[in-house]
């Protein structure tokens, strides 16, 4: 089964996941203070609990990703430094963002979605819709 190092083992303890997310959150705050929003987003996307079914973990990670995502001002610049391996998972979080219905979140998600679709193509959207195993 293909899984990059960014995705943790499904058997990982839930508490361990939550701890990891909290650590990520602190790291992201530091990065944002240093005006490194793209690094912050990468950190947020890395190690996302995709395989677990626990809603708490997923929500906790979503909050972290949302924080990093909203801090991005220059979307084009972001894509210059974001590696393609993050595209699929970013797309999944964009759809989660769009499903919140919250105006600022949706605005930001749509902005990023437009550019991400240009970069990654329709296949990326397909995968975010079709993948029922790795969910955000």
């Amino acid at each position: 089964m293909a899984s990059s190092a960014a995705y943790p083992d499904a058997d990982e303890n839930l508490e361990a996941i939550i701890t990891r997310i909290e650590q990520k959150s602190r790291k992201i705050e530091t990065l944002l203070k240093q005006s490194k929003p793209v690094e912050a987003l990468k950190t947020a996307l890395e190690g996302s609990p995709l395989k677990t079914l626990d809603e708490r973990c997923k929500s906790a990670n979503w909050i972290v990703v949302h924080r990093a995502m909203m801090a991005i001002r220059d979307v084009d610049g972001m894509f210059n430094s974001l590696d393609p391996e993050y595209y699929d998972i970013l797309m999944k979080y964009l759809y989660r963002g769009l499903s919140t219905g919250d105006r600022p979140t949706c605005d930001q998600c749509l902005k990023i979605h437009e550019k991400l679709t240009e970069k990654a193509g329709l296949g990326c959207i397909l995968r975010s819709l079709a993948d029922t195993v790795n969910t955000v």
């Binding site: 293909a2 329709l122 990326c124």
Partner: protein, 402 residues
């Protein structure tokens, strides 16, 4: 490279197969467009099966009804030679055997017929499959002594000919698949059969049948297995999977997932090593190995995609076959040669000529077109026939074996 010719056979074609090459001609066929669809493509059904004959271009297909039409290409146009009508419902799979010149058809009516040519007629023989759901796909084995049928009954029927009683017997592989079997592929050793299913998994079974297959003449792994034994199960995609094929040597297995990915697996029997290739665009529906290192994939983009493996065995997407990407919503009344289909390309088959190393690949387009591609020359398509010239095209890597 745009299509060189487009021929429309029907409003909708469900499946097709090429007839075997029986001549040693290697010249390109005349590239003339016959028809271009101008009518709206209505129809909710996928294409029917077709078969194509190489140099003199004979093709069998189902125009979305319960018949099979056989057309032959005479100089500048296609002519209907035969109509095989025995099925009660849509014919969902056709395969034309290369050396024994038999056509096997399967249909939604849960039956299968093997057609043999006697004189100028095709005579059907019923094969009782013991299915309680539609048959979806069929393939002759490499030695043509067996054929496999995938069905919506979550089973695969492997049929072989019993000489004493002069009929085909079906052995069913049950209880392995969790859902419909969408496509099948025989390994060159005539024993392993790979299947893809709407449960998202690709499985490899042994179809060793006593009396039909010989033990000891193959490698030890394949002869030790019993009929219906599952050799491997690949759970790489969580979505429906289609279009499984073995490479010509049998070393690599490739299939397409509905999540816009193509999976390549080496050494399935011993230690499977998978490569997952994520596609930029819409999913593929069928793939075809043009050579050991080159794969053509067709799908909802209506534009065949070429993949090649480099020397280390790493597969990557090279380019689209048609340089201009066709947009499904574009106007139909155009004179250009690109594939315009509303539903995408459904199936790709090839009829390789034994004499030359040119091959024809047919892409079946849900709706009207079928594209044939010749690997070293022109690509001829039919259905809405598209011809692509690929001589001297950069990026087309011809490997030594194909």
């Amino acid at each position: 490279m745009a299509a060189a010719a487009i021929h429309q056979f029907a409003e909708c074609i469900t499946c097709h197969a090429w007839s075997p090459d029986q001549s040693s001609e290697t010249n390109a066929l005349p590239l003339l467009p016959v028809l271009r669809s101008r009518s709206p493509l209505v129809g909710s059904d996928p294409q029917s099966p077709r078969a194509w004959r190489s140099s003199s271009a004979v093709i069998a297909f189902c125009p979305n009804n319960h018949e099979v039409h056989i057309y032959k290409f005479f100089t500048d146009k296609w002519e209907k030679l035969h109509v095989l009508s025995k099925h009660d419902q849509i014919v969902s799979g056709i395969d034309w055997s290369k050396s024994s010149n038999k056509i096997v058809t399967v249909s939604h009516d849960r039956n299968s017929y093997v057609w043999t040519q006697e004189g100028s007629d095709w005579v059907p023989t019923l094969v009782i499959l013991k299915l309680n759901r539609a048959a979806l796909c069929v393939q002759w084995s490499p030695k043509e002594n067996k054929f496999a049928v995938g069905s919506g009954a979550k089973s695969v029927c492997v049929c072989y000919y019993e000489q004493e009683n002069n009929w085909w017997i079906s052995k069913v592989i049950r209880k392995r698949h969790e859902s419909s079997v969408t496509s099948l592929a025989w390994h060159p050793n005539n024993i392993y059969l790979a299947t893809t299913s709407t449960d998202g998994k690709c499985r490899v079974f042994s179809t060793f049948i006593k009396g039909v297959d010989k033990r000891g003449s193959q490698s030890s792994t394949s002869t030790d297995s019993k009929f219906g034994e599952q050799i491997a199960q690949l759970d790489l995609s969580s979505t429906w999977v289609f279009g499984v094929r073995w490479s010509p040597s049998g070393k690599t297995l490739a299939y397409a997932g509905h999540n816009s990915m193509v999976y390549f697996i080496d050494e399935v029997e011993s230690s499977p090593a998978a490569q997952n290739l994520a596609l930029r665009d819409l999913p593929l529906r069928d793939v075809l190995f043009v050579s050991e290192r080159t794969l053509v994939g067709v799908g909802f983009d209506c534009n065949p995609m070429i993949f090649t493996a480099d020397d280390t065995g790493l597969w990557s997407f090279i380019r689209f076959l048609d340089e201009r990407k066709a947009a499904p919503s574009a106007s139909k009344a155009s004179q250009d040669w690109t594939v315009k289909s509303w539903y995408g390309i459904w199936k790709i088959t090839s009829a390789l000529q034994n004499s030359s190393r040119e091959g024809f690949i047919t892409n079946q387009i849900k709706g009207t077109s079928v594209i044939t591609h010749r690997t070293q020359g022109t690509i001829l398509g039919s259905g809405v026939l598209q011809v692509f010239k690929i001589q001297g095209q950069p990026g087309w890597k011809d490997s030594p074996d194909g």
